[in-house]
Symmetry: C2
Subunit: 230 residues, 2 copies
């Protein structure tokens, strides 16, 4: 089955930084699936219109257009049950839902306010004004103001990562001895940050580095070796 995968791209089309796209990229690799990767920009709604939405990731399989990283992961799990599992069954999928919601209410909003100016700067010029306008409206602040004040906000994010840090002090992955989709959900947020920013989110001695390095090295260093804007 041939798959096409629309990924958000920066000005440099080789730089694919979206956290939701990285979840899918890791999930595809976990399943051992190849996909034709297609660079997509915020302003290119027409290309993904058959998905019914206006955002990536979008995965296309034959006549099936799928959007939303969670739904894509569930579809991959159901469509390729003989490949390595992304979820620990139905119960584990429920618990992965909690990891997803924690990531989307704590980690991603926290990171966004630290790196939003650098995301903007990495974007294709055609995407920059859309991005600035929508994000400044959502965040209630100019990107430059957020950027200038980020040092003061970093300790709160580091502290908010405590449950992740404690868990990964006790076990190798969120999925226990081996990574599951829940690991990729959180990892993808960090991959997003380092794709556009070299500014250190974590302290050098943060034990989370071990886990991040482990996932970054999976599948031939897929994430570690991906092109970055920073």
């Amino acid at each position: 089955m041939s798959l096409r995968f629309y990924e958000l791209a920066a000005a440099d089309p080789a730089v694919r930084f979206s956290p939701h796209c990285w979840r899918v990229r890791m999930a595809l690799a976990h399943k051992g699936l190849e996909a034709e990767r297609i660079a997509w920009r915020f302003t290119d709604k027409a290309a993904i219109a058959p998905s019914g939405g206006g955002a990536v990731p979008v995965l296309v399989s034959g006549e099936t257009w799928l959007s939303d990283s969670w739904r894509i992961a569930v579809w991959l799990e159901e469509s390729f049950p003989d490949r390595p599992a992304l979820f620990a069954g139905a119960g584990g999928r429920g618990e992965a839902g909690f990891v997803k919601n924690w990531t989307e209410t704590v980690v991603q909003p926290g990171l966004m306010r630290l790196i939003v100016k650098e995301i903007h700067d990495a974007l294709d010029p055609g995407d920059q004004s859309y991005f600035r306008e929508s994000r400044e409206a959502r965040l209630g602040e100019r990107l430059e103001v957020l950027h200038d004040g980020r040092e003061a906000r970093r300790p709160a994010l580091r502290e908010a990562l405590a449950p992740l840090r404690r868990t990964l002090g006790d076990q190798a992955y969120l999925g226990g001895d081996a990574p599951l989709f829940s690991d990729y959900i959180v990892f993808a947020a960090f991959q997003w940050a380092r794709s556009v920013s070299a500014w250190p989110i974590l302290a050098d001695d943060d034990p989370l580095h071990r886990w991040l390095d482990g996932i970054g090295g999976l599948y031939g260093g897929l994430a570690d070796q991906a092109p970055r804007a920073a």
Copy 2:
């Protein structure tokens, strides 16, 4: 196999409020296991000395003394594999570990600062001075000062529950369609609060009530009908 279960008790020995003990109580019910429940007080270290620790829950099975709610749950899962599962396999146990650490770094500390004075007031007089001294040292504040300022701190806890609220808007339980130990971990924190305090932690219209009511009604209303100090 006969089980003995040491539970923290309030001045009224029928009131068992410890969140860690409630995790085990729900886990035993989930497995359909009976245990002889023994009231324990903070100052009664000798009674549980064979567990190697000084805190409850302690579960005793023959010559085996187990402490720590997580280790007890893992032991129950391994010892009674034919009973309903507490974890969605090894991967789900990993993800439950994240739920545990989120509960212990976000939910329980947040609740503690709201209800600590009421916990104190519910305790057996013999436990009160130990509790006051140790908790005031840990929290860096007099119990009465924490109590008087709690209204101002409640909104932050409600907001910190966002990932739980979002997850349980999408699905019935953290474990998906049916409760798992991860559900009991979080539920037990709320059971702790209502066992000693009638002060409303959540807004009346919080959608979390549906989930709390659902678990409270399980196993013949085990948690809903448990004696409370408040």
